[in-house]
């Protein structure tokens, strides 16, 4: 199990390859992954950059709690969570959540639960720099279960 915050750009697929290389071989049958990527538009405006603020200490604590809750609800072999902090630009990966399990239902459900809980509870705040020069705080996250 690994949870990390990073101020450096990361390649999600390379992070997965490296993390999985440490895994116990032949025990997991299912891996579900979500990657959130910074887009160059939001609410109709061009976005050129963003700053991700967090609450050092509480953010890590909340993420650990969410992953623990996932482990209580589903049978998981392992989980990996990486979240960017600081200054980011379009196309940067913002978040990576991966869940390894023997069965795909558990992997899918846990990965999605972690993402939804993170969006709702983990103390991160996005401040966007628009193409127009304006700077604004993103006000709220959507619920990813609704269409």
């Amino acid at each position: 199990m690994s949870i990390s915050l990073t101020s450096q750009a990361f390649d999600p697929w390379q992070s997965l390859a490296e993390y999985q290389a440490q895994q116990l071989a032949g025990k997991y049958g299912a891996t579900a992954v979500f990657v959130g990527t910074m887009r160059d538009f939001n609410q109709g405006d061009g976005v050129v950059g963003m700053t991700l603020e967090h609450y050092p200490g509480m953010t890590e604590k909340q993420l650990a709690l969410i992953v623990e809750q996932a482990n209580q609800q589903w049978v998981l072999m392992d989980t990996l969570l990486i979240h960017r902090i600081g200054d980011v630009v379009p196309d940067d990966s913002l978040v990576l959540v991966a869940a390894w399990s023997a069965h795909r239902g558990d992997a899918f459900d846990a990965c999605r639960f972690i993402m939804e809980a993170l969006k709702k509870q983990a103390p991160f705040w996005k401040k966007e720099r628009l193409a127009s020069g304006e700077v604004r705080w993103v006000e709220s996250n959507s619920n990813g279960y609704q269409k």
Binding site: E53, M58, K61, V95, A122, P123, W125, N141
Partner: protein
């Protein structure tokens, strides 16, 4: 009683500073502490409260040496 108060993101900008130290003669709730520290600023709707890095209610009593935080809805991920 000594309380550490922290603000984050847009709330930090509205309040004008990131941290405050507060000395209290007796325990107060999170919302009472907000009023005492920000008498001219009504707490914006949707503000979240954490005590010692765990989510708490506006009526949570804050104790000596607690860290109390106010912040807007989170937007990570």
């Amino acid at each position: 009683m000594s309380i550490k108060v922290r603000y984050f993101a847009s709330l930090k900008e509205r309040v004008g500073h990131a941290d405050a130290e507060l000395l209290l003669p007796e325990p107060l709730s999170a919302s009472q502490i907000w009023q005492q520290l920000n008498p001219d600023l009504a707490m914006p709707e949707g503000v979240l409260v954490a005590v010692n890095m765990e989510y708490a209610g506006l009526d949570t009593l804050v104790k000596d040496n607690d860290e109390l935080a106010f912040f807007p809805p989170v937007t990570g991920g």
